[in-house]
């Protein structure tokens, strides 16, 4: 009953619309540059893996993926670790300035990265973190921590308060209750929050590019630079692009059953 007439057609058309540009990228990544430039082919007629081989064998390319993954993982761990207790506090207690604090956090999620690019550059240069994964990881906290708090608060609220009370009556200390009881109860929520932190840290480029120079350069920055320097190597560009899609696709596959709930930020 909750669907509309012609839904199969609409859905199919929309999915094709989503997949077509991605297909084109995959298609190009398996072609040689001569084939890309000289002919218009719907699939590679002389398929080649040379573009991928170059990325996997050239350290300046594959180190970019490692750098990106480093700061994404550091950021996700930090965000979840600090957001969990805060989410519990917001869900369970009223305290001085709680609403204002929540709004202030939320407003940071909305702050444009372009505003912070230059001050972050100064700040992290001053404390000697410039060009390390930590700089990017900490910088990304500005939008991921508020988001994680927002999502987790919804999940904690859905845990009945009686569980807390029973645990405390049973003599659980607060840290023990937190780790032994609460965390397992909202495990799916933590998964969803981690997914979102991963996602937003992985897709961000402006801050990641501004805060790194050579050592910790993320893959997205390497893509923009190397390609323009070497003339337009379309096949290589496409292959690098395809490889950036894969980690995201893997993560989606693991959380697919929670996606819908997570997108409503645990509040449905």
């Amino acid at each position: 009953m909750h669907s509309i007439p012609g839904r199969r057609i609409i859905m199919t058309v929309f999915l094709v619309f989503l997949l077509l540009p991605i297909y084109w990228l995959v298609n190009m990544s398996f072609k040689t540059n001569t084939e890309i430039v000289s002919t218009m082919t719907l699939w590679p007629h002389q398929p080649t893996a040379a573009n991928y081989m170059r990325i996997f064998t050239d350290e300046s390319w594959y180190s970019g993926y490692i750098n990106s993954l480093k700061y994404v993982i550091i950021n996700t761990v930090i965000s979840i670790a600090v957001a969990l207790p805060a989410a519990y506090a917001f869900a369970r207690y009223r305290f001085l300035g709680d609403k204002h604090l929540f709004f202030w956090l939320l407003s940071n999620r909305m702050a444009p990265a372009a505003v912070y690019a230059l001050p972050f550059f100064n700040l992290y240069s001053a404390i000697g973190l410039f060009d390390t994964p930590w700089a990017v990881a900490l910088a990304h906290c500005i939008f991921n921590v508020p988001l994680a708090v927002w999502i987790l608060e919804g999940f904690v609220s859905s845990v009945p308060r009686e569980i807390d009370e029973t645990a405390f009556l049973d003599g659980y200390s607060f840290p023990r209750f937190f780790i032994k009881i609460l965390v397992p109860l909202i495990a799916s929520g933590i998964g969803v929050a981690a997914f979102f932190c991963f996602m937003f840290s992985w897709v961000e480029l402006l801050l990641a590019r501004t805060l790194t120079a050579t050592e910790a350069k993320p893959i997205s920055a390497i893509m923009t630079r190397t390609v323009s320097a070497a003339g337009m190597d379309w096949g290589l560009l496409a292959a690098a692009g395809v490889l950036t899609i894969i980690p995201g696709a893997l993560v989606i596959w693991f959380v697919r059953n929670y996606i819908a709930r997570g997108f409503a930020l645990g509040r449905v």
């Binding site: 009953m1 909750h2 012609g6 989503l18 207790p85 939320l106 444009p112 997108f263």
Partner: protein
């Protein structure tokens, strides 16, 4: 459910507060500092008072003109993509299969564009739209439409908008789908007994139930489109001319391109203020909506 008042909860919030304050307040102070000064390089700064702000808000100066033009462009862009993505997202959510393995498949494909790094999104559409090597550009030109996003303003706009629809409609759709899933079957059965039409079911049951998630969707989409940078930058570089130069692109041009720190800082503050106001309006509407619903629930 009533919450207990306990100021000790601040200890639980403290790590978040310190972390975000470190990343937000210190840089913001730097920005305020810059916005009131002028520099001629060599780290020499001169007090400039509110000079930059006056210039920024006066359309007859170069800075003011550029700011207002990019603000205006950005507002049009946000309005257009909201007008397309919200209805389309609702339609897609309503078209989701009811059960079976196709649900997982649709969810995964829908979420896919959201997980692609933004510059790669730009790259995908840059390639896809090129008349010589891209499928879209090639086909359009073949059927007789003169399409070239590099030189034609209208085509550049169309590309950026279609790209954003491609990139973000899924977010709206997934949010709406989550809202739809929370409607108990009993509602639909009741509607069936009453002989309600398809349209009545939509307006009387589904839309009110999606009210909350739609608000989140509009908020997120407005904010993210208002600070869009990477995707149009990769595809059009803000051009042709200045036609797709949105506020963030203008800001980065001034700050990192020309190194005009004072102007950039003043622009940042005004930009942040606009976002803060919009955010506050949405937040108030959202909390009010939540407060209205609570007594009805229990």
């Amino acid at each position: 459910m009533e919450k207990t008042i306990n100021n000790k909860a601040w200890f639980l919030v403290l790590p978040v507060f310190l972390l975000v304050a470190f990343s937000a307040i210190i840089p913001l102070m730097t920005v305020v500092n810059y916005s009131l000064q002028d520099t001629f390089g060599n780290n020499q700064f001169f007090w400039n008072g509110v000079g930059w702000f006056k210039e920024l808000l006066d359309p007859s100066t170069d800075l003011g003109g550029r700011f207002l033009a990019s603000l205006w462009r950005n507002l049009i862009f946000s309005a257009v993509i909201l007008a397309i993505e919200v209805p389309l997202g609702i339609v897609v959510a309503l078209s989701m299969p009811r059960s079976g393995w196709t649900v997982a498949l649709c969810l995964v494909v829908l979420a896919l564009p959201l997980l692609i790094p933004w510059n790669v999104v730009g790259t995908i559409w840059q390639i896809f739209g090129r008349p010589d090597i891209g499928l879209l550009g090639y086909v359009l030109n073949r059927i007789g439409i003169d399409y070239n996003y590099v030189s034609n303003e209208f085509d550049a706009w169309m590309t950026v908008i279609v790209m954003d629809v491609w990139h973000w409609t899924s977010l709206v759709a997934l949010l709406c789908y989550a809202g739809l899933k929370s409607i108990p079957d009993a509602y639909y059965q009741a509607a069936q007994i009453d002989g309600a039409s398809r349209w009545a079911v939509f307006t009387a049951i589904q839309l009110p139930k999606m009210h909350r998630v739609l608000l989140i969707a509009v908020l997120l989409r407005f904010m993210d489109s208002f600070m869009i940078y990477t995707e149009p930058f990769v595809v059009t570089g803000g051009g042709p001319g200045n036609s797709t130069t949105f506020i963030s692109i203008e800001l980065v041009k001034i700050a990192l391109g020309q190194f005009d720190l004072g102007k950039a800082a003043a622009l940042s503050l005004v930009y942040n203020l606009i976002i803060l106001i919009v955010c506050w309006v949405f937040y108030t509407i959202m909390t009010n909506a939540g407060a209205e619903r609570r007594p009805a629930k229990k």
